[in-house]
């Protein structure tokens, strides 16, 4: 279904291609066609055997499976609450991860505590896995700060808004790990749109040349705001790695088990000195780019409906139910926990105070700066001038 809908968007290339269009093997399709991702769980919730990647999830316990499910459900609930809070005027903006829960939870749960994450601004599920309190993510979207958590507290860097910049930071950090002789790894998140950025290309070059222990985790959610993936690439994104001399793998990004397994494999490569890996998590941005976006201007409902059938949470639920790994009590309890999370987030955001005016001048420099001091004093004098008016 996906392949068809993607192909439908792609213009015919040439008469020559047209003549062979009937042959399945040679027809020129979109860059995403005919590249089946690694999948361990079908949309129907059936476990598919995979000789290469099974070993990374073979020892997973029912409890851990329920944990992955819980992570995804709570992340989605938090995300929905944030979207509502934007609609209520409590947040200025929200970038929803709806549809990408499996890619984020699967990769996030593959990490060790000493690994380091460099996210984009949409990695709410990964933040959850790292133990960053969800309410901390909302400060920047409410406009009270530009990043409200200590990156070193959870080895989860601040959200990077400029597209692709963080892939170089991840690479540099990974180079540092090598210099330290440690066996930690770094994971850099980015999207299909970012794959066109020079910084991403340079991070591939640097990480390959220095054999840096970094996993490039590209969530190909099919859309960079209004531009489909074929506006970014003529080859499947995972194949980009080949030209840089390291492996690339496409994984079903709506399959939490496969995302977990493939990321574990890539991290293991990093830890054992085999260098960088590109993982393309093939997924779909179910919602708008942000709350400011209107997807109806550039894409139709059919595509979204097709992806809804492949929902990451639904398929794990089917699997849990079919394998008797979770009972009604579990789902009911989780439902209650979700609502409690929504309430907690709602209340925390509404209680979030505006920053002190003088926060403008704080932390501009680590060692201070004469001009900042001077302007702070001018600002203070200006504000104090109103005190006499007794307003």
């Amino acid at each position: 279904m996906t392949v068809e809908s993607t192909a439908a968007r792609k213009p015919r290339r040439s008469a020559g291609t047209k003549s062979t269009a009937g042959k399945r093997t040679t027809a020129r399709k979109s860059p995403d066609a005919e590249h089946e991702p690694v999948q361990l769980l079908t949309p129907e919730g059936e476990r598919v055997k995979n000789a290469e990647y099974d070993k990374y999830v073979d020892d997973i316990t029912p409890e851990e499976l329920r944990g992955l499910y819980r992570d995804m459900v709570l992340t989605r609930r938090f995300d929905a609450e944030a979207t509502s809070l934007q609609r209520q005027g409590e947040l200025g903006l929200w970038a929803s991860l709806l549809g990408q829960e499996a890619a984020q939870i699967g990769s996030g749960r593959a990490l060790r505590d000493d690994d380091y994450v460099f996210p984009t601004y949409r990695e709410h599920g990964v933040a959850w896995c790292r133990g960053v309190d969800p309410t901390n993510l909302l400060g920047m979207f409410r406009g009270v700060n530009n990043g409200g958590w200590d990156p070193n507290g959870n080895n989860f860097h601040l959200y990077t808004i400029v597209i692709g910049s963080q892939t170089l930071h991840a690479t540099g950090y990974a180079m540092g790990i090598t210099k330290d002789g440690a066996d930690s790894a770094v994971i850099a998140y980015f999207g299909d749109g970012a794959s066109s950025q020079g910084d991403v290309a340079e991070s591939f070059t640097f990480s390959a040349v220095y054999n840096a222990p970094v996993v490039f985790f590209c969530q190909n959610n099919q859309w960079a705001i209004s531009e489909p993936t074929e506006k970014q690439t003529r080859v499947p994104l995972y194949q980009r790695a080949q030209g840089y001399g390291f492996p690339g793998v496409r994984v079903d990004g709506n399959d939490v088990l496969a995302s977990l397994a493939v990321t574990k494999w890539a991290l293991e490569r990093a830890r054992s000195g085999e260098g960088p890996t590109l993982v393309e998590a093939y997924t779909y941005r179910m919602g708008a780019h942000t709350t400011s976006d209107d997807p109806s201007r550039y894409r139709g409902d059919e595509e979204r409906l097709a992806w809804e059938a492949k929902d990451p949470i639904l398929r794990l639920r089917r699997f849990l139910e079919a394998s008797n790994h979770a009972d009604e009590g579990f789902f009911a309890e989780l439902e209650a926990e979700s609502e409690a999370l929504g309430k907690r987030v709602r209340e925390a955001v509404r209680a979030m105070p505006d920053p002190d005016h003088f926060a403008i001048f704080e932390n501009v420099y680590a060692d201070g700066h004469a001009l900042v001091d001077e302007e702070r004093a001018q600002f203070a004098a200006y504000q104090a001038s109103f005190a006499d008016e007794g307003v």
């Binding site: 930071h169 330290d180 680590a366």
Partner: protein, 329 residues
């Protein structure tokens, strides 16, 4: 008399010695850039460092400026103190995004939790007969960005110590090296306790007019002061050393004495550092000034081909002309 710890060396060698000292003193200090390793840099500023400190600490990078600065940021996040070289002034722009949006802002973005002690070395300025993009003075483009500190030494002694201080700074520092002065020799006292990094220095006292400059223009201003002295004019010369923060107190103190100010830099006059100095000194010294603050610098045109650079760059006569105009008020 020069002490035993004082040596006479070229400005480029002084930076080399300073980097060597920093590498020796702190295992977290790294050198990164294009050709900085085996070759020792195109100006030999990092000569011999890779040989003595190894490829892991003196790193030949791929030819990608954004990558150099971006990975330096990542290394700094891991606890390193990278000193990166941008080979020439005109090549910094691929890294401009990383410098402006990431390097400058991460400390504030993290509410002070992340520090990025990265030094970006940039050989800058003209006067060496180079091809396009090898003679520019982009310091104002960085001074406009909060979160960065901008310095430029004018002599070997300052180059040695200012590099030490830049590397010790927990803030990112853009270190502009006056490439036409790389081969000028000067006294370097490796034991002397230096003054603060961001303070200006009076290099020549005078009473009639203040010349303010930094980097390559300090030497020119000293020559101007010599020439003016022959005509009976007493010019004070101030070496700013730092463009951000900028030592306005030192300029103010000088101007309150001389009542006239001419600012000299190679960068284009339009929106250059001279404009900021003129505005602030006019505000601070309005009743002391006998003449408007005048500026001498590059024109609002691309840096010209080498055969024209002597016309484009401030020279002795152009600065003297400005001095005459200021004194004529």
């Amino acid at each position: 008399m020069a002490a035993e710890t004082t040596k006479n060396m070229a400005l480029a060698k002084a930076i080399n010695e300073s980097l060597r000292h920093a590498l020796d003193a702190d295992p977290k200090v790294l050198i990164m850039g294009e050709d900085v390793g085996k070759l020792g840099g195109v100006f030999r500023v990092t000569d011999g460092l890779q040989k003595d400190f190894g490829e892991s600490r003196v790193i030949d990078t791929p030819l990608a400026e954004s990558g150099i600065v971006g990975t330096a940021i990542g290394l700094a996040l891991r606890g390193y103190r990278p000193v990166v070289e941008i080979q020439f002034d005109g090549f910094v722009f691929p890294a401009y995004d990383q410098i402006v949006t990431q390097l400058a802002k991460m400390h504030a973005r993290s509410l002070g939790k992340v520090k990025l002690p990265v030094v970006v070395r940039i050989p800058y300025g003209g006067g060496i007969g180079a091809v396009e993009h090898h003679s520019e003075s982009p310091e104002s483009l960085f001074a406009h960005v909060a979160g960065l500190k901008i310095v430029s030494p004018s002599n070997a002694g300052d180059a040695y110590w200012m590099m030490q201080q830049a590397i010790q700074s927990d803030d990112p520092v853009i270190f502009f090296e006056p490439k036409r002065r790389y081969w000028d020799k000067g006294e370097v006292n490796t034991e002397a306790i230096p003054g603060p990094l961001h303070k200006a220095r009076v290099v020549r006292e005078g009473t009639d007019l203040t010349l303010v400059a930094y980097g390559p223009m300090v030497k020119l201003c000293q020559e101007v002061a010599n020439a003016a002295a022959e005509e009976g004019r007493s010019l004070e010369v101030l070496d700013l050393r730092s463009v951000s923060p900028l030592d306005f107190d030192a300029i103010q103190a000088s101007v309150e004495k001389t009542r006239r100010l001419v600012v000299v830099h190679e960068a284009p006059v339009f929106f250059g550092s001279g404009a900021e100095i003129a505005a602030r000194i006019t505000e601070r010294c309005f009743y002391h000034l006998e003449a408007p603050v005048l500026r001498v610098g590059g024109y609002h045109a691309p840096y010209p081909p080498a055969r024209l650079e002597d016309e484009y760059l401030p020279g002795l006569d152009r600065v003297l002309d400005a001095v005459d105009r200021a004194l004529a008020y």
